[in-house]
Symmetry: C2
Subunit: 330 residues, 2 copies
């Protein structure tokens, strides 16, 4: 394990600057932060070894690190986590990073300082190498997202297969022009779902058209704008598969405003089966993830890691299913 002096030397800064990088990163210039971050990453340094022995008692707290609290998908997963944690005498602390690496590193101090016993990540802005190093030293697991082959365990659905099946369902309905609205590929799940989309088309002998693929946020507006883009093409798609219900609803809303008969010739599938999908008129066909169970099992996996920290990355896949509603014909 590298020492703080070695990190300072490698970064060409003082030891105090390295210390501030971990304790008050906002006080450093961006340049200084970059230098220290690179040295920390190269040398595999973590300040944990310092404070570690000071706090050995259990805190009975679990940190949950989210990119944002505003995605309704997370709420039921969090409920599952909270219930499972509570049952075992633990409390869940939730923290949003805004997908920002510096913010995430800042939050991880709670883990280094033994402020919490372990952490559950959804997506992470850490590099694969950083995340693995973290997982070797601390009890951490991933939920819904995972870095393949990571030493941290994960509980997730098979995102590639789920997307494959959704697209195949549209093909079976007779659609050959199937578009795809993805998020911006910051997430592993987005990459896997796009793989599934492409595989389904290819296996059915349908060429993938890049103009049918859109990327953006998980929002309603992304759906509306994507629909307008698709409608402007010489050959507009007749079906859309979106990676979130909010996107799917944006597509449906824009289509209905245009007078397109959603569910009767124009089909839309969303993802996550949030309450939105059920509440909307027409109801939105959607890929359901067992959200509460994902949360419960992620906490259970973390509790197992507390018992036997050596255990390497267990990967648990939970079943998904396609919930058919009126936004697809059939």
């Amino acid at each position: 394990m590298a020492t703080i002096k070695q990190v300072a030397a490698a970064a060409g800064v003082s030891v105090a600057t390295v210390s501030r990088y971990f304790n008050a990163p906002g006080q450093l210039s961006e340049q200084a932060r970059d230098k220290v971050r690179q040295a920390v990453e190269q040398l595999g340094y973590y300040p944990s070894s310092l404070g570690r022995s000071l706090r050995t008692s259990q805190t009975k707290k679990i940190l949950v690190i989210l990119p944002t609290i505003s995605n309704p998908f997370y709420s039921r997963v969090l409920t599952g986590m909270e219930e499972e944690a509570e049952k075992n005498g633990y409390s869940i602390l939730t923290c949003a990073t805004g997908g920002d690496l510096l913010s995430e590193e800042n939050k991880l101090k709670m883990l280094y300082d033994r402020f919490v016993d372990g952490a559950v990540f959804f997506s992470t802005s850490l590099s694969r190498r950083q995340f693995d190093r973290l997982a070797v030293e601390y009890p951490v697991v991933q939920c819904c997202e995972y870095l393949e082959g990571s030493v941290a365990g994960a509980v997730t659905i098979d995102n590639e297969q789920a997307a494959y099946e959704a697209v195949e369902y549209l093909l079976r309905l007779g659609h050959t022009r199937v578009a795809f609205v993805n998020s911006d590929n910051r997430f592993e799940s987005s990459i896997l779902r796009e793989k599934g989309y492409r595989r389904a088309l290819t296996e059915h002998g349908i060429p993938v058209r890049e103009e049918y693929i859109r990327r953006g946020t998980y929002g309603f507006r992304n759906g509306e704008e994507s629909f307008r883009h698709f409608a402007s093409l010489p050959e507009p798609p007749t079906a859309v598969f979106a990676v979130a219900d909010s996107i799917a609803i944006g597509v449906v809303h824009a289509a209905l405003e245009r007078g397109l008969p959603v569910g009767k010739g124009f089909s839309v599938i969303g993802f996550d089966d949030t309450s939105l999908a059920r509440m909307y008129r027409p109801g939105i066909t959607s890929v359901a993830q067992p959200r509460k169970e994902l949360g419960e099992q992620a906490v259970r996996l973390l509790l197992k890691r507390f018992q036997s920290p050596q255990k390497s990355g267990e990967l648990i896949f939970l079943p998904h299913r396609l919930v058919i509603r009126e936004s697809t014909e059939g």
Copy 2:
């Protein structure tokens, strides 16, 4: 200030039991917890004085205590809190209590242990007396909800007036049979909104009919069930005011299934102007709260309390407004 021994004597339990009440309440029987809780409340005991001196450094962390993470209303308020906190070098830790007093008390240990610098509450399960005692000793503020006259400050909208104006809008459209779907009155805001509903009717010379008032959860299903109840009355209401968009959408959904022309003779108003209200077809008329600003200002108020702890309960009202959409005629 009472001592732990006095609490133990008053509760008729051992000092160890009182200590466990604060440190591992799950290990006590419900009976023992009740006894200790009563003694703690009677004597005004808080364990803070013990650990207090151990930790005097700032943690730069703010605890946010929510009843549940699953209400989409909170997400934008939390975003406001996070942005304002981040700007000032603070992190937000979010904790859900499920509206459970024991869970809330357990979470408050983070405040007593100086694990966080202060706390923002939405609603609280603490009694008025407990909450005031807490607010005297620790920096705490309320957001969106408030206990009237509390020494803790609060940032909120004028819930009574907002409800009054929504109902008055329906009356101006010519409705005389206006129903009200409330939450279950666990929240101050629910009590105030019901006051506003009743006042609007009374001031316009319309008698309040108890069969037009429903209470339940903040959910879609509450809206659906309420509509069915209203439709079964000899004189069904022609307009519904609901305290959440999800409830309003449940009402609209059930009405449309029945063939009722929503926005043309049958009007519905929701609350919070969540993205649901905009995304739905028809769009839902809704009372908008400045959600992000509520979060920002609550954090700003807390930061002010860090500076001058003696300052007593500042109450800040932010403006609300009615956003008119297709679910009301006009």
